[in-house]
Every structure is written in structure tokens, then in C-alpha cells.
């Protein structure tokens, strides 16, 4: 391809947001034919740096040079013209339109103001063949899987002639198999002479795919390393600023059955049956991990367990007692604790103070009351104890919880729930959107709770995390359990296939022909 960008040089980039220095004098460079990873925790400045390159943000200092010529991008349209494309974490697609319409959007048409979908479709098929990007141009985007939508985004960028493509956390939403497929595509693009920026916080992906790795922390560049031969703990130290504690090897000694789920069926928000007969049991002193691609029923199952979704049929036994039709506060009284998936929606009241959030449920406890009045002294003491014990970083107990970082909010919710010494804990995606440091802490706490004898049901879309923490792992796919395995009897590869609905021994799915691209 002629006119490909050979080199991008960002020098001394500074970007300020009100109260935050998002990028503090960062240098970054990229060559054609390489994948350059940007590694860092949430809020390290990775996305901000790349949005500057893509023209979405304007820089406050520094310069960008493309093939040696200094350029300034005022809008995404400018960068697109220069040959820079970006695949956002949240896809920039219109779900009610077809793939071809999405690609044609904003493009000048050969037929002036008339839509020329035929030409667009042909070109999509060419790109699809050249890079192995399988999509049907006539499919409605809203009907595509996340992986397919991502391919549409890549096609959009290629269609516009982008030679530099920025991928913002592209694997966050994919199954392991989809990640493998994506890496094959990306490697093909590199071979064709594209330069790629790969934003991620997953170390193993970065080392598997990339040529060079630049680590950011708190808006500063911590260094660039070649991927070959780099030590994992060195990268972690650059990201977090200290070494992480390794999860210790643990004995698995399950106790009595605490939570029993028998043939539970429930409908999703759209009225269709999302849980099609779930059977699971969780024992005292174990973590049962529930693996699955988002949207396969794990959210609904968690909601059934905590009592905010109606169970159509089946039983949920807590220590032998059917709680399927109990209210949430009754379940809590019976020893259940919940770390909800939507922590800001279901786990906390945003405008309430830290202390008030600690007592969202327990304010009715006799311990914190004097007659009908709340005993604020005791409450403050309790809240202070929890905040200290769980290392929640908050200026005061009166600070509204919305001003805390995601990790600290999650620690506080955890402190509140675990302080009740529950027999069963439902932890739905407890580390989603939480940075590595806080994640590590949450992991340690979950394991402590397990050792203390609590039965824990853990869901996570991060298969590595799930595999590392769980004693047993169940895989959910389209509302059914594909299987339950002891940790040592399975591996991530097998789990990944099950998450995609493929059982070991199944014949590999034939590649579906893409109708409109054939003949």
C-alpha cells in the first residue's frame, strides 16, 4: 500500500483536565510494522494520550510528528485524513444499521449524495478476504457478537485507509478464542505494514502480541521495554510501583453445602428465558467461579440470588432453607452478603457519605440503635474501624462516596458486606474497573473469607482472575451450565471453548460462508 505512515513521534505530550494532570510530558513513538503496547492501570493516561493522537482531545503541550513533519489534529476527521484510526473501547457503531451502512457512514460516496452500498460492500469483502476479517456486510450490527462488532470497527478503520490503528483495550470484551482470532488479524495487519498501538492492562496479552511495551503510571511514562525477554514482575512494578503478593497455593477442604441452586429458570429484561435450568452448589470454605461471556445469564443468576429478579421456577436453598421468594433483607438476615456487579447502581448510594453507605442495611441492627434512635457514636466508630481495616482511602467519613475511586468504593462495599460474617457471599465481578493494586487486595480478602469458611460464588469476565481464585469453576453458556470442574482438572483453553459453547470432542464449527461475499 502506498502512502503508509512510517513513523509517529509524540514528544513531551502534556494534557490537563480540571484538577488532574492526565499526561505529564510523555514521549511515545511508533513504527510501521510493529505493535507497541501502552500498559498501565486505570487512569494512568493511556487512553488520553491516544485520544490526543486521534484528535479527540487537544494537547496542552508537546508535539506530534508524522514521518518527521509536525502535525496538529483538531478533530478525528483530521487524524483519519492523515491515516490514523482508532478502535474505541466502546464501539462507535450504530446498532440499527447494517455493517455496510456503518462503514459507509461519513464516507464520501462515488455517486455524490446517493448512497452507494454496492461499492462499499465489494470493498468490505476485499478487506475481509485480505485480513481474514469475517463479517457479513448485510448483517445488522446490533445482531452481531462483540467480536464481530470489533471486526467491523477494524474494517471501518482500514476502509478509511488508516495505516496507524490505535486499539483501546480491545480484548476486554472478548472470549479467549476471540482474543486469539483478533491477534491473528492484528499480526496480519502488521505484516501488511500497519503500525498498531495496543492499549491494555493485561500483561500476558501484551507480551504475547507486542514488539515494544511502554508503561504509564499516573500520567507519567515509566519506561519502554522490548517485549522479548521482559520480566513480568518488572512490568508490574512499573505499573503499580511495587511488587504484588503472589496468590499462595491453597488446600481445598470444602465443608458443608451452603448454597444449593436447583433447576432455576428466569426471564431476562426482554422477557425471553435467560436462565434455562441452572443447577449449582457452593460449599463452605470454597470459591465457586462462574465463567462465561457477558450476556450468557450470569448477571441474571446473580440477580436471582440476591432477590432482585423473579425466579420463574426452581429452588434456591440457603442452608437448606428455600429463599427463592424471600426479600433481599430477609436473605441478608439469613446470612447472605452481596457484592453487586453494578456497584454504583446496586451497591451504594452515590450522594450518601462513606459512613451512611456503610449503614445502608445495618442501621436497623440493635447494636447501632438506642431505642428508636440511631446511635451515631457507635456508627461512626464502626465505620472508622472498617475504613481502617480495609485500607479505604477517603478524606473523611462524611465524604460522598461518589468522590472515591472505583477500587476504594469496592473495598468499602466489601468491608460492609464481610463485616456481617456471612455464610454465603455472592461476588459479581468484584474487580471490574478496579486497578491492579486494589484488585490484589480484593483477591486477598476473598481468599481470607474462604479460609474463614464462607461459601463464595464468584463471577468474573476475567478468566485469568477466575482461574487463579476459584477452587471449582462452572461455565455458563446461553443460560445453561456447560460443566463444573475442579481447578486442577481443567485449563484456561478448555474453559474458553466452553464459554463459546463448544464442548471438548465437538467437531470444530465449520466456517460459515459469508453469503454476500461469495461468488
Amino acid at each position: 500500500m502506498a502512502g503508509m505512515i512510517q513513523q509517529v513521534q509524540m514528544t513531551g505530550i502534556v494534557k490537563r483536565f480540571p484538577g488532574v494532570l492526565a499526561c505529564n510530558n510523555i514521549d511515545f513513538d511508533l513504527h510501521a510494522g510493529e505493535v507497541h503496547a501502552l500498559l498501565g492501570e486505570n487512569g494512568a493516561g493511556k487512553s488520553t494520550l491516544m485520544k490526543i493522537l486521534y484528535g479527540m482531545y487537544q494537547l496542552d503541550g508537546g508535539s506530534i510528528a508524522i514521518d518527521g513533519a509536525v502535525r496538529r489534529f483538531h478533530s478525528p476527521a483530521d487524524s483519519l485524513d492523515a491515516g490514523i484510526g482508532m478502535i474505541h473501547q466502546h464501539f462507535m457503531l450504530v446498532p440499527t444499521m447494517t455493517v455496510a451502512q456503518n462503514v459507509a457512514l461519513g464516507q464520501s460516496s462515488d455517486k455524490k449524495f446517493l448512497l452507494d452500498l454496492k461499492t462499499v460492500t465489494e470493498r468490505i469483502c476485499e478487506l475481509s478476504a485480505a485480513y481474514g476479517l469475517k463479517v457479513n456486510p448485510n448483517d445488522l450490527v446490533g445482531h452481531l457478537s462483540v467480536g464481530e462488532q470489533q471486526r467491523v470497527e477494524i474494517i471501518k478503520a482500514l476502509y478509511r485507509g488508516a495505516s496507524i490503528i490505535i486499539l483501546d483495550e480491545p480484548t476486554a470484551v472478548l472470549t479467549p478464542q476471540e482474543v486469539d482470532d483478533l491477534f491473528i488479524i492484528l499480526k496480519k495487519m502488521v505484516k501488511e505494514g500497519h503500525g498498531l498501538v495496543f492499549i491494555s492492562h493485561k500483561l500476558h496479552e501484551v507480551t504475547a502480541l507486542c514488539d515494544r511495551i511502554t508503561v504509564l503510571r499516573d500520567g507519567c511514562k515509566m519506561g519502554t521495554r522490548p517485549a522479548a525477554g521482559v520480566e513480568r514482575h518488572e512490568l508490574i512494578k512499573m505499573m503499580v510501583g511495587r511488587d504484588l503478593k503472589e496468590l499462595s497455593h491453597r488446600d481445598y477442604k470444602p465443608g458443608a453445602e451452603r448454597l444449593t441452586i436447583t433447576d432455576v429458570r428466569a426471564s431476562g429484561d426482554r422477557g425471553t428465558e435467560t436462565l434455562k435450568g441452572i443447577n449449582l452448589s457452593v460449599h463452605a470454605g470454597e470459591i465457586l467461579g462462574l465463567a462465561g461471556v457477558s450476556g450468557n445469564g450470569q448477571l441474571e443468576l446473580a440477580e436471582c440470588l440476591i432477590g432482585i429478579r423473579k425466579v420463574d421456577s426452581g429452588r434456591i436453598l440457603l442452608d437448606g432453607l428455600d429463599i427463592a421468594s424471600m426479600k433481599l433483607n430477609e436473605r441478608i438476615a439469613k446470612g447472605m452478603a452481596i457484592i453487586p456487579e453494578e456497584r454504583m447502581r446496586d451497591g451504594a448510594v452515590n450522594d450518601f457519605s462513606v459512613q451512611d453507605n456503610v449503614f445502608l442495611h445495618d442501621h436497623t441492627d440493635k447494636e447501632f440503635r438506642t431505642g428508636i434512635f440511631l446511635n451515631f457514636k457507635k456508627m461512626a466508630a464502626h465505620a472508622k474501624k472498617l475504613v481502617g481495616e480495609y485500607t479505604v482511602k477517603t478524606p473523611t467519613l462524611e465524604t460522598p462516596i461518589k468522590n472515591l475511586s472505583g477500587g476504594n468504593i469496592q473495598k468499602l462495599i466489601m468491608a460492609r458486606e464481610l463485616a456481617r460474617k456471612p455464610t454465603v457471599l455472592i461476588a459479581a465481578q468484584p474487580t471490574r474497573g478496579v486497578d491492579i493494586g486494589a484488585s490484589e487486595y480484593i483477591h486477598q480478602r476473598l481468599l481470607m473469607q474462604r479460609d474463614a469458611g464462607t461459601a463464595i460464588l464468584l463471577t468474573s469476565e476475567d478468566l485469568d482472575e477466575l482461574y487463579a481464585l476459584s477452587d471449582r469453576i462452572a461455565v455458563i453458556y446461553e443460560g445453561t451450565i456447560m460443566g463444573v470442574f475442579l481447578r486442577q482438572d481443567t485449563d484456561i483453553q478448555t474453559l474458553g471453548l466452553l464459554m463459546a459453547g463448544i464442548r471438548p470432542g465437538d467437531a470444530p464449527k465449520p466456517d460459515l460462508p459469508i453469503a454476500s461475499c461469495e461468488g
Binding site: P76, L80, M92, L115
Partner: protein
């Protein structure tokens, strides 16, 4: 009593339906463009009133119906620019600014009418034009091909709108801006410009709708001439599921119900008048309940767009 099911009656019902549906077609098709781009314009009724007044006033002064139509379109354009400025550039709540526009149109048209005209006066509006040959088709000819230019225009607007929305890059941009403005912005589409265009187009068409009341149907102006028809037009957009053909169906159904109830009364069929006048509204509610169109609603409807937020 006449035979209710005679061809004459049927023809009369359909003729009245065609005439009544014209203002709804213009206003609702215009609102469709506006809403597809993500802007609910509740000021349609006010635009219809002020544009209807100016259309009437221009014809009253000059006797030229085309000048009346032009005046209505200009007033519509100005009102559309005000609506866009307030709700797109200044990012005010669309519902509030739309109601503001409606009140402004209602009050201003009434005031100007009083000051400039004083009392009810009639003008000669658009006269029916019989289309050669087609107009001679028995039964259908007089119903469909013996109307005035504004009526033909309203019905032609249905395929034209469909064509713009489905077959042009502009239509694709309008729908993208209403569904996912961030996505449209990310591929270099000027979201605000598309919204300005769509709102103004909608307002110009609302202006024509006003003109079709004052210089095609009633041929006069009076306080609150629209009697809330602009709001019904907004409802018809939901009713029609944001598609021109759906809007056509809704406009025809509503007008048919109205026309049928008038004929029921004229023919002396013994239904209480108060029940008969309820018929169109009852029918609308029933159809709205049965045909759930929520899924088709533009996802970014009634939402302001700020760049850099997802």
C-alpha cells in the same frame, strides 16, 4: 336516510380524509426528520400557527398563494433556527424549548392577527387542480387527482422522505446522529450541523403544514387555528415508528376516523355526537397500545451531544 355504504358516501369520506390528512403529513414528516436526528421538537404547533398566519397574511395582502407558501416556509425556517440554537447549540432541554416555541407561536400569531388583520377575513387559497386523464378515473379520480397543489405535495413528500432517508448519504447521517452521535462524530460527521439541518427541515415542513391549514383547508386565519394539530403530528411520528410510510398510515387512519365520524353524523346515524368525536382519539390510543414502537425510537432522542463522552 341515504345508503351508508354507497359509493358516494365512501368517496366523500375518502375525499375528506385526504384533505384532513395534509397538514398532518407535512408536520409529522418534518418532525420525523427532526426526531431521527435526535431532536424532539414540541414546538410544531406554534410553528404551524405563526407560519399559517404569515401565509394567510401574505395572501391577504397580495392575493398570491405562492407568496403565502413562501412566507410560511421562511417563518418555519426562522423558528427552526431558533429551536436548533436553543436545543442544539445551547443544549437546553428539548421538551422545554419546544413548549417555549409553541407558546411563542401561539401568542405571536394571535397578537399579529389582532394588530394586522383585526377580524376574521377569508382569502382564496390554493384551488384544486385536476390532473388530466387520471382525474377522470371513475371513483378514484375525484378522490386522488382533483386536489390542490399542497395536497399533492404532502403525499409526494412520503416517497421523497423515504428516498432521502434510505438512499442518500444524508439520510444515513441523519439516522446515525440520532442513534449514536458519538459514533457519527468519530467518523468526522458534524453532529450539530446535521441536527440543525434536520430541525430546520422539520420546521419548514411544519410551516407548510400551517399554510395548508390557513390557505388550503380553511382559507382564513383565527386565534389558535391549529387547535392542537401540531401535537397530534408529534404523536403520529411515534405512531408511525419514525418511518415516512408509517407516518402516512397514521395520518390517514386518524383523518379517516375523523372524516368517518363527520359522515356518521351527517348521515344521521344515531350515535351520540360526543362519542363520535372521540373516535379518532380512541382509535389512536388503541393502535398505539397494540403497535409498540418503542424499539424503533432513535436511541439518542432528546439527548444533547457533548463530544468526548460516551
Amino acid at each position: 336516510m341515504m345508503n351508508v355504504f354507497s359509493f358516494d358516501v365512501l368517496s366523500g369520506v375518502l375525499r375528506t380524509m385526504i384533505a384532513l390528512s395534509t397538514p398532518f403529513l407535512y408536520a409529522a414528516l418534518g418532525e420525523t426528520f427532526s426526531q431521527l436526528s435526535g431532536v424532539v421538537n414540541l414546538g410544531v404547533d406554534g410553528i404551524m400557527l405563526l407560519a399559517g398566519f404569515f401565509a394567510f397574511y401574505a395572501v391577504f395582502l397580495t392575493g398570491n398563494v405562492w407568496l403565502g407558501l413562501l412566507a410560511a416556509m421562511i417563518v418555519g425556517l426562522i423558528m427552526g433556527l431558533i429551536m436548533s440554537l436553543v436545543s442544539v447549540t445551547l443544549k437546553a432541554q428539548q421538551g422545554i424549548s419546544g413548549i417555549g416555541l409553541q407558546m411563542f407561536g401561539l401568542g405571536m400569531s394571535s397578537l399579529l392577527f389582532k394588530v394586522l388583520v383585526g377580524t376574521v377575513k377569508t382569502v382564496s387559497g390554493f384551488a384544486p387542480v385536476k390532473i388530466p386523464l387520471l382525474g377522470d378515473i371513475p371513483f378514484l379520480g375525484p378522490i386522488l387527482f382533483n386536489n390542490n397543489v399542497l395536497v399533492y405535495g404532502g403525499f409526494l413528500l412520503v416517497p421523497i422522505s423515504w428516498w432521502i432517508l434510505e438512499k442518500t448519504t444524508l439520510g444515513l447521517k441523519i439516522k446515525a446522529v440520532g442513534q449514536n452521535p458519538a459514533a457519527a462524530d468519530s467518523v468526522g460527521i458534524n453532529v450539530n450541523r446535521i441536527r440543525y439541518f434536520s430541525v430546520c427541515l422539520g420546521a419548514v415542513l411544519a410551516g407548510v403544514a400551517g399554510a395548508s391549514l390557513s390557505i388550503s383547508i380553511a382559507n382564513l386565519f383565527q386565534d389558535n387555528l391549529t387547535a392542537g394539530q401540531g401535537f397530534i403530528a408529534v404523536a403520529l411520528v411515534y405512531f408511525g415508528g419514525w418511518s415516512p410510510v408509517g407516518v402516512l398510515g397514521g395520518a390517514l387512519l386518524f383523518s379517516l376516523a375523523n372524516s368517518a365520524q363527520l359522515w356518521l353524523q351527517v348521515l344521521g346515524i344515531n350515535v351520540p355526537a360526543s362519542l363520535a368525536v372521540m373516535l379518532p382519539y380512541l382509535l389512536t390510543i388503541v393502535v398505539l397500545t397494540v403497535a409498540v414502537n418503542r424499539g424503533k425510537q432513535p436511541a439518542a432522542l432528546n439527548k444533547q451531544f457533548f463530544r468526548g463522552e460516551n
